[in-house]
Every structure is written in C-alpha cells, then in structure tokens.
C-alpha cells in the first residue's frame, strides 16, 4: 500500500509547475466486519477502500479534491493528473487566503504498527463460543488501516496499524443492557474470554429490578468508558486555541479567570501508544506528548498552524479542528478493587450517554446515565438504576468534587464506521466524585 502511495505521489510531484505546492493525503482500510445478533453471526463482509486527497496551493490560494482510488496505480495516476488539472484551472480564480499555511519539509516518518489479528477464516470460531448463553448484538471489525501524507517539498509520512474491535451489547430478557468494547491490536483468546465473562457477570446485576434515583447530588464513581465520553466533549469548544480566542471554549475560564481543576486531574495528548498518526492533514508532526492540563492547571491548548498565524501564537501542530487526537488522562491511586468500598453509598456509573454542553462557557455538561449504572450501598452493588439525566460542570466534578482517580488507565477505542473505520481512542481511568448532580 505504501508503495502505491509513493508511486502516485512521486509521479504527481514531477508534474508541478513553478509556484505550485501540492500536498497528498492518503487514507485506506482493509477490514473484515462480522455482525452479530442474538449471539449468532448474521453477516460477514470485507471492505477494501482507499481515498486520495490532493491539495494544490498556488499564489496564496488553495483548493482540494478527494477521490476513491481504484487500486490500479496507472489508472490512479491518470485520475490524479485529471484532478490536478482541474485544481489548476480553479485555483487561479480564487481569492487569496490571508492565513494560508504553506507546506514545509520538516522531515519524514514511517510508523508501522504490526498487529496479530484473527484471520478472516478463524474469526467466527474464535468469537462465538464465549458469547453463547446470552443475547449479544454487536459488530466485530478487524484489519489494517493506513494513512499517508506527502508534499512537493519532499516531506513524507506513513502510518499503518492493525487493530480489531468487538463492540457489543448484552441484553437481558427485559431489555436492560451491558455495553462493552473489546479492542486491541494483538488478539489474545483468553483475554477475550475473560473480558466477555466479566460482561456476562455484570449482566447478572442488570437482571435485578432497577431502582429509581431521585434528582440530587450523589457520591459517584464514573468508570473509564464514562470518563471517555466526558473527555470527548473537550474536543468540541474545549481545548482548541481558536475556540478560546473566539470566546467559545469551556476552558476560557481556566485561561482568562485562572480557574484550576483538581490536582488529581491531568490530561495529555499522548501519541506513544501508536493508535493514531502523529502527523496532521498538513503533514505536520505533533510532539509525542503534549501536557494539556497538568495537575489541574491549564498548560497548553491545541494550536494548529492556521490558528497560530491568525492569532499570533505558536503552533503545536494540532489537527484541523484542534480536537484531541490521542487523549490520555493520567491514572491516580485508587485501586480498582477498592472502588465499591470507596463509594460506600452512592452511584457506580459504567457508561454515560448523549452528552451535550448545557452551558459551554460554564463547563456544564448534560447527558444520561445508561447501561451498567448501579446503586451502591455500604460498598456493595444493590441494583441497577433507572436512566437519569445528569447536569454538572466539569469545574465541579473534575474540580473540588474529584476525590480520587483510579490507578488503571483503560483504552476506549473509537469504533465509528462513518465513511471509514475510525482510528484511535481514549486512554483514561475512572473517577470518584464526592458529589455529582443528577437532575431529571
């Protein structure tokens, strides 16, 4: 795959005329999908897909076009030439872009993460036995994902990874659910079976009659998948420098009013796990680790080159939307085994759902409790709770109400398949809160 990309890009760069800059972005996947319903395989599929995007810059003007690659290198080069000619005819008609970021050559990289995946033939037999006896609905995706970026100044980046994910819900007879995702890059059959067994065990708790919790403040533990949902919000009017500059960010108070979060809370962008490429669409490479919030204090925001130019700040090579591409929240000291004991009486929230800003500037997030959420008394799970809405500010729950952070950082993979299989995910622990606000 890398050779195909190199062949196309090398050829295209030889065709450029004076004053033209060309950046090529490549995205491809080779994925096996297996869809489960009632713990049986209903469909298997194989998807081969590759897309190339050309961005032409000429005379401080830019335009781009993306198209599906056929896999026939000669045909794809021909198609690329047609697209380049189209872009040439268009770019001269466009207005100048005052904040244009010209390509540079800051070196090249090749980042290949080999996995150990189930073969297409073996996947069904490996997956199905562990899920027998329960009602499981879900989707298994496994295969290779590729990203490439090259520009006409000679900079070239390549990233490939091999990953799998089984994203599933276990469903009780009265339709309560446990939701979980087993994911990674190296398949381990016994780990999978243990993981599934733990989900099935949690399903047993869901069979108990659900308790209705009244609105109010509760001592609460939010498990890692729920924390992931909260951290996801920080990519949306959160840690983006442009968003802060435009007064739209929930982190504006930390920048402008010197608010701090709890010393227990640290959040980085950390690419060291290799789950996503370090290079962005411009081919700029982010640092391995960027401290965003360190022990409760805002240290860095995400700044892309365009924002840097517009607001006269220094870029840290963030992506186009200045979202967090590789979120990593630091572990604390609360042993996982002690979580229920430390809750004492209160809530264990396994998953959150439907998060939205209810007051972005104030950092207030609303959403639902969902799936494996339990009422805990005297350190023991009593029963699942009926779904409740929460509405609270992260300035509270990651601030003075953050009592402890669990000592285990879990990886919560992105399992989206919108237009193509998603990369990456969120590394985070669970959090113990002295108070969390349920509203309706």
């Amino acid at each position: 795959m890398e050779n195909k990309f190199n062949n196309i890009s090398d050829k295209m760069f030889t065709l450029l005329k004076e004053g033209e800059y060309l950046t090529l972005s490549f995205s491809s996947e080779n994925t096996q999908f297996i869809r489960f319903s009632q713990s049986k395989i209903r469909q298997t599929g194989l998807v081969d897909d590759a897309t190339l995007e050309l961005e032409l810059i000429f005379d401080n003007r830019t335009c781009g076009e993306a198209f599906t690659l056929s896999g026939d290198t000669e045909a794809d080069i021909q198609k690329s030439q047609v697209v380049l000619d189209t872009l040439r005819s268009e770019v001269v008609q466009l207005p100048e872009d005052p904040y244009i970021v010209l390509p540079e050559n800051n070196g090249s990289s090749c980042d290949i993460h080999a996995g150990s995946l189930l073969s297409v033939e073996d996947a069904a037999d490996a997956l199905t036995p562990a899920m027998q006896g329960v009602d499981l609905a879900g989707i298994f995706a496994s295969g290779k994902i590729y990203r490439g970026n090259a520009n006409s100044l000679g900079q070239k980046h390549w990233f490939s990874t091999e990953t799998f994910s089984l994203d599933y819900s276990l469903i009780t007879e009265d339709e309560k659910m446990v939701k979980a995702t087993f994911a990674g890059s190296k398949w381990n059959q016994s780990e999978y079976e243990s993981f599934m067994a733990a989900s099935i065990k949690r399903l047993e708790f869901m069979k108990r009659e659900a308790i209705k919790v009244e609105p109010g403040e509760y001592r609460t533990y939010i498990a890692s998948p729920g924390v992931r949902d909260i951290l996801d919000m920080f990519s949306w009017n959160g840690l983006s420098e442009a968003s802060i500059q435009q007064g739209q960010s929930s982190f504006g108070r930390m920048r402008n009013e010197k608010y701090n979060l709890s010393p227990c809370f640290s959040l980085n962008e950390d690419f060291r796990s290799g789950s996503v490429p370090r290079f962005n669409d411009n081919g700029e490479v982010s640092p391995d680790v960027l401290n965003l919030v360190n022990s409760g204090q805002l240290e860095n925001t995400l700044i892309n080159s365009r924002t840097a130019k517009e607001y006269n700040v220094i870029s840290n090579n963030a992506g186009g939307g200045e979202g967090i591409r590789a979120p990593y929240m630091a572990a604390g000291e609360l042993p996982e085994a002690d979580v229920l004991k430390k809750i004492g009486t209160g809530l264990y929230l396994g998953n959150l759902h439907y998060l939205n800003w209810s007051d972005c500037i104030g950092g207030r997030i609303t959403g639902m409790t969902r799936y494996a959420c339990f009422w805990v008394e005297n350190g023991e799970i009593i029963a699942p709770i009926q779904n409740m809405r929460f509405d609270d500010s992260f300035y509270n729950f990651f601030g003075e109400n953050l009592e402890a952070v669990s000592n285990k950082v879990e990886f919560n993979p992105e399992v989206g398949t919108y237009e193509s299989r998603s990369l990456g995910g969120t590394h985070c622990p669970g959090v113990l809160l002295s108070s969390f606000s349920l509203t309706l």
Binding site: C63, L94, P95, Y354, T366, Y418
Partner: protein
C-alpha cells in the same frame, strides 16, 4: 457519472440471492469565515459492492474499482462469505427473503450549466458583504455552501434494476454577536433537493432571511435563561421534525425493534395523542417531491410510505427484506446505504408529523406561561425514545404573547410520553433536510411537519 445499466453483470451472479450496486458520491463545499475562504474542496467516493443472502446469512464485499474484474471480485468474496457462514450455522437453513421486483430510473441532475468554484465563492462573498454592510453588530460570520450528489445503479437477482441520481445542496449561515464579551450564535440553513445550480441563484433572495436571522440573534443577545422543569411549549416544525425522526422514527426501524427498541412492545397501542399521525414518506407528499426522494431502495424494493403512527396508535415499522420476513410483514423500501462500501440498513427517508387544524398564532396565544421553541441544535435519541436536544432559538410565552428570547437551552424526555401530551397541532408543514442522520453510516434524510403544543422538560441555567 456511473453506468446506468449494469444488467450485463447478472451472468456473474451465483445461485444465491444477490444484489450488485455501483455507486458514486460527489460532494463539494466552500466555507467563508469572516470573509476569508477557509475551506474549498470536492470529493468523490465511488466503487462497487455485492451482497448475497442464503439460509439466513448475508455476505458482503466492496471494491473501490468500478470494472468487470472488481464486480467479479466482490461477487466472489461475498459468495465465499455467505457460504462460509452457511457451513458453520445450519440453524437458519431454508430461510428465504421476500421477493420484490422494481425497475425505475430517476435522475435529478440539473439541466443548468455547472458553475465554477469561483462562482460559488463570489456568491458567498455577496452574502458576507451584505451582512457586513447591513449588520454592524455581527461579530463573526460563517457562510458555507455544500452539496452532495448520490448516484446509484442497482441490480438484484430477482430482476430489480434501478438508477438514481439524488442531489442535495445547502447554504448555511452562522452568525455571532457579543453579549458581555461572550459570543452568542445563531445558524440558519437553506436549500434541499437539487444541485447547487438549481437551489441557489441570486444571493439577494437571501437578504431578507439574513435580516430575520440577525433580528433573532440580537433578541437572543438580550435573552434570558429558560426556567428549568416541565413546561408547556410550542415546538416549531424544525424541533418537532427532529424529535419525530430521532426519538420516534429510529425506535420504529425494524432492525432496532429486533435489537430491543421500546417500540417493539407498543405495536397497536396508543403511543401518542390522537392528534398525532407520523409518516415516513418515500418520495412525495400530495404530489410534491420530498427533500430526499427514494423510489427504489438499495435492495430493489419499490419504496412505499410508512404510516408509523396513525391518530396516536403505533401502526407500522419500517422494513427491509430481512426484517419484513422476520415480522411477517412487507418490505417498505427503507433499505439504504450511504456509500458503495456500506451495506444497506433500515433508514428513514422523509419523516413528518402530519399537520392538524390549529393556527400557530392561536397556539401561541393559548399558552399562559411557557416557551415557543424554534430551532434545534445538537442532540440525540435512542431506542428507548429518550431524547435530549439543544434549543438554539426560542422565546418566552407569557399570557399568550411572545416575550424575551431564550439563551441556548436543552429539552429532554421520553418521546412516547411527550407525544401523549400533544394537544394542538398547526395546519402548516415545513421540511428540513440540511443535516445527516447517523446510524453507523451518515445518510441524508428529510424531516418536518407542523408545530405542536406539548409538555416537555426544559433545561434551565
């Protein structure tokens, strides 16, 4: 442009039931932020896919190459997939899909000459210049034009053939004004079915709409926070439409019913006020084409309207072939795939609550203390019919009169409960189609209807 006629490939079909789809999606987008072009790009995604059914299992494969070899390859791979599953699991042996047959061709390609990117940038600049010159209180402007052409050719083993080119094009204008140093935003979308050339001609046609948008925005700058709790509200068409789609429509997609959606228990029951009838329209309402017309779905079934709720009673689910077999019902033509590499899923087309007999003005004047909620923001709902949506534009209603504008707020609840509280429905109908529905794949959909009076939980400060 793809081949309209792919019938010659039928000779490659195996003995199992087979669907072959060739598809190309073409998109175009230009965005101006405060007068500067910040985004200008096109994309094309094209390829071929095959799906094969035998004994209760499906095999699927796709390839980004549109060629005889690629067609042969995807048919072979999907055949291998389904035969592999058949060997492993014989418990579904003998399950057959209902047969459907349809031949249809519908091409909405514009007859007008295609405009250049420069033309569209100039179009956006005209709008932006107008905002700058006419509305000095606006502190930030984003003006975006976006289009998507979905072109599909389909051939099935039962002889169904279809070709469709279904475009949509939208203009989005998002404006900000300042409130105590913080931006207050309001967006507006225009457009629908058609290519850019069909939908957008003279920028001056949008000036009065921009004036209205600015007036609402400036009202919002002086707005108040909603009072939290259950309130009597008028949900305008956009909000009622998104609620009908997200919170009710999805629960009645038969694949989600099979997955445990709450609607599975409600068939034949009164799930809403008798004033509420909810229909997923296939392609037209009273001979007027819907924003996202579907004539033949991606399984080769002729698309039919689905009356989901009639006078408050849950009547039907939306089906593909497999779910129709499961529920001993009839396929409704709701199987749709976004991209060539996507399998068809049960998706809505144009979902709307049917208009009633009330006048919007009378509905507003009937509310003593409540809210008139006009524009939705982000939100979600799921198979429990629980929903939560942001509300980006709304007004107080005090003693039957509109009061102050609201700052952004949220509404939430259980849709089937909320619909039981509907006691007035306006006599007009508005379609909205600028968003994408998400269900593992994006998908253009239409949603709409009248305004409704109901009770709903509203978020406060």
């Amino acid at each position: 442009m793809i081949n309209k006629d792919i019938c010659s490939y039928s000779s490659m079909f195996p003995k199992e039931y087979t669907e072959l789809r060739v598809q190309e999606n073409r998109s175009n987008g230009v965005a101006l932020l405060n007068g500067d072009v910040v985004s200008n790009g096109k994309s094309t995604a094209s390829g071929v896919s095959a799906r094969i059914f035998k004994d209760g299992h499906w095999g699927f494969a796709s390839n980004p190459n549109i060629s005889d070899d690629a067609v042969e390859s995807v048919i072979r791979s999907s055949t291998d997939n389904v035969r592999f599953l058949n060997k492993r699991d014989t418990s579904r042996c003998g399950i057959m899909l209902p047969e459907t047959f349809s031949n249809f061709e519908k091409d909405f390609t514009s007859q007008k000459q295609k405009n250049s990117q420069k033309h569209w940038i100039d179009f956006l600049k005209s709008l932006d210049d107008y905002i700058v010159s006419k509305h000095p209180k606006i502190t930030s402007r984003t003006v975006v034009i976006r289009s998507l052409d979905m072109e599909k050719s389909l051939l099935t083993a039962t002889g169904s053939t279809s070709y469709s080119m279904t475009p949509r094009a939208h203009l989005m204008i998002s404006l900000s004004a300042d409130r105590d140093g913080q931006p207050v935003e309001l967006g507006e979308a225009h457009g629908g079915l058609g290519q850019l050339e069909d939908n957008f001609d003279n920028p001056e046609l949008y000036f009065s709409s921009i004036d209205q948008q600015v007036a609402h925005l400036l009202n919002k700058v002086d707005g108040v926070y909603a009072e939290a709790g259950e309130k009597e509200v008028i949900l305008d068409a956009e909000l009622a439409g998104i609620l009908a789609h997200e919170a009710i429509g999805h629960t009645t997609e038969a694949d989600l019913v099979m997955g445990g959606s709450v609607a599975g228990d409600y068939m034949g029951q009164q799930v809403a006020s008798s004033l509420v009838s909810l229909i997923d329209f296939a392609n037209n309402v009273n001979d007027v084409t819907c924003p996202v017309p579907v004539y033949v779905d991606d399984e080769g079934t002729q698309s039919e309207d689905v009356t989901i709720i009639e006078n408050g009673v849950l009547k039907n689910f939306m089906h593909n072939k497999d779910s129709a077999r499961h529920f001993e019902s009839t396929p409704t033509g709701n199987a749709r795939a976004f991209s060539f590499s996507d399998e068809p899923l049960i998706r809505m087309r144009n979902t709307a609550i049917m208009p009633g007999n009330d006048k919007l003005e009378e509905m507003i004047s009937s509310v003593e203390d409540g809210y008139y909620l006009m524009k939705p923001g982000n939100g979600q709902a799921d198979s429990t019919s629980e929903f939560m949506f942001a509300v980006n534009l709304g007004y107080e209603i005090k003693n039957g009169k509109l009061g102050k504008a609201l700052m952004d707020t949220t509404i939430s609840g259980v849709a089937f409960d909320m619909l039981k509280s509907v006691d007035m429905v306006s006599d007009d109908m508005t379609w909205v189609s600028s968003g994408m529905c998400g269900k593992k794949q994006p998908m253009p959909v239409g949603m709409g209807g009248p305004a409704i009076r109901c009770k709903v939980n509203i978020g406060g400060r």
